[in-house]
């Protein structure tokens, strides 16, 4: 029996069974209690609505996915060099880094309306919100990772007369890589939330916009369909980052 719980089969199939049970229970609950569709649609109703609206759903999903991925990539591209500077330039460590840590505590959701005020409508403010929610976890984790180089490894490199660039490339960066990936994994889960918040504040497209308008028009099943896609995007993006991690860290 113990062997069963450790098998591949148990690991892959059992979660699917529990998920299916949940959906069936939901379906029976809605039908049994005769709940109206605008309050809680049954999974089958969500499915058929999704099918009817597939073109719109696809378009809006594409917008949200684009905002999410772009914001995340910009955050990575800026956060990594900033982290390196904070670690290597003592002046920045005492001036810039505390400011970054303080800014990290600002609730980004509350800033979203301001960003719309400054940057206007369109895709830019959403990408900006995504960038903000992603930036700080990546910086904080990368800085911690770059600082965690064991002294023994630094001694080893110094004893072989390695220059600062060689120490960075051969030791500091590989040591920091697991932390960098932790930061990216935290960031990518926040990224989707950031995009939806950006869309909530003001937009004419995207899954966040779709949820907002469909609930306002009591098209609850459509809101659920959009929600399901958002969840799917979130999961897929997370696993892509995890796949990247597995490819980069092979020791």
């Amino acid at each position: 029996m113990a062997r069963f719980w450790r098998s591949e089969w148990a690991r892959l199939v059992l979660p699917c069974i529990s998920l299916a049970t949940l959906l069936v229970g939901w379906q029976l609950l809605v039908q049994g209690m005769d709940i109206e569709e605008w309050i809680l649609p049954a999974p089958t109703a969500v499915g058929s609505t999704a099918l009817d609206w597939r073109t719109e759903l696809f378009q809006h999903s594409w917008v949200t996915l684009y905002e999410t991925v772009l914001g995340f990539l910009v955050a990575v591209a800026i956060a990594l060099p900033v982290s390196v500077l904070v670690v290597y330039v003592p002046a920045l460590h005492y001036t810039l880094y505390p400011v970054l840590l303080a800014l990290q505590s600002v609730p980004k959701v509350a800033v979203a309306p301001l960003i719309t005020l400054w940057v206007g409508f369109g895709i830019a403010p959403k990408v900006m919100v995504v960038f903000l929610v992603c930036f700080f976890p990546i910086v904080v984790n990368t800085v911690a990772g770059l600082r965690s180089t064991p002294t023994s490894m630094l001694h080893l490199m110094t004893s072989m007369q390695a220059g600062p660039w060689q120490v960075f490339r051969r030791v500091r960066l590989p040591v920091a890589l697991p932390s960098i990936m932790v930061g990216c994994k935290v960031a990518i889960t926040l990224a989707v939330i950031g995009a939806v918040i950006g869309e909530f504040v003001g937009s004419e497209e995207g899954l966040g916009y779709l949820i907002l308008t469909s609930t306002a028009q009591s098209k609850t099943a459509l809101a659920f369909a959009a929600l399901a896609i958002l969840t799917l995007i979130s999961i897929v993006l997370y696993y892509l980052v995890e796949l990247l991690e597995k490819l980069l860290i092979r020791w």
Binding site: S152, M153, H155, L156, S159, M160, Q161, V171, W251
Partner: protein, 263 residues
């Protein structure tokens, strides 16, 4: 014919090291002087906290002394050098590189010819019983194998002197004895100048021409003992009465010091 007296390969003169800490200073080394002649094997033994690792880092120019000087070939030593190979307490192999890449690390940093270094690395690994493990990562190796690989790395650029900081300290007792005997065999073949930091008295006497006994905090030299046991030595050397007298004497020096510290 006049014989020119060459300066010792490595020598320390009146080395002191003080670490400033809150509530006073900690004196790690107090006026330590010693010589490591070319082609000799010198060990430094002492209880933990006697500053022997600090001494090694200073001799390797990884740390600066508070006072005193280190000379290599009679010239003051300021920076680490290709001529000094170091084996650290923990193997310090980089886990993301393969065993071969780790051993080749000095070749990359010193810009040695690639193919030659590769051949030498493979030869060193073979000598250490690590053939077939070239493309494995350190995580796949046992503790003893990791430390062997670390020694190969230190030997790759063919340094003139090898500094070892308790290289077998993190290993189990049996692996440790096995590696000591291996080290003895290889050293007696090559006679490369070597300095070994250890807390294992048997190991120090078995391997060395000279044993330097240090006292704990502040690290001071208690006695420098010549080991005149015949070479080649081996497991049977430990049975010689002279061997046991020497280890007994050293043990006495260290424990007398401990009792003084306790009372």
């Amino acid at each position: 014919m006049t014989e020119t007296i060459s300066p010792p390969m490595l020598s320390a003169r009146n080395l002191s090291k003080v670490y400033p800490v809150r509530g006073g200073d900690i004196q790690a080394l107090d006026k330590v002087s010693l010589d490591v002649p070319e082609g000799s094997f010198v060990s430094i033994v002492g209880a933990s906290g006697c500053g022997k690792s600090t001494l090694l880092r200073i001799l390797a120019a990884l740390e600066q002394p508070s006072a005193g000087q280190v000379f290599r070939d009679g010239r003051p030593l300021a920076t680490p050098s290709r001529e000094v190979g170091i084996v650290f307490q923990e193997h310090v192999l980089l886990p993301w590189l393969t065993v071969l890449e780790n051993v080749m690390m000095p070749a990359e940093l010193y810009k040695l010819p690639r193919e030659e270094s590769r051949a030498r690395a493979q030869e060193l690994l073979a000598m250490s019983g690590l053939s077939g493990f070239e493309d494995r990562r350190p995580g796949d190796l046992s503790g003893g194998m990791k430390q062997r690989a670390a020694i190969c790395r230190a030997l790759l650029p063919d340094p003139r002197v090898l500094l070892m900081d308790e290289p077998f300290g993190a290993l189990d007792a049996l692996t440790r004895e096995e590696l000591s005997l291996e080290m003895l065999r290889i050293w007696e073949r090559d006679r490369k100048t070597a300095l070994l930091i250890t807390h294992d008295i048997n190991e120090a006497v078995l391997l060395s021409d000279t044993v330097v006994v240090m006292s704990p905090r502040p690290g001071r030299i208690l006695e420098i003992i010549r080991i005149d046991l015949p070479r080649p030595r081996g497991p049977d050397t430990e049975l010689l009465p002279a061997f046991r007298e020497l280890t007994h004497h050293i043990r006495g020096l260290i424990f007398a010091q401990r009792q003084r510290a306790a009372s």
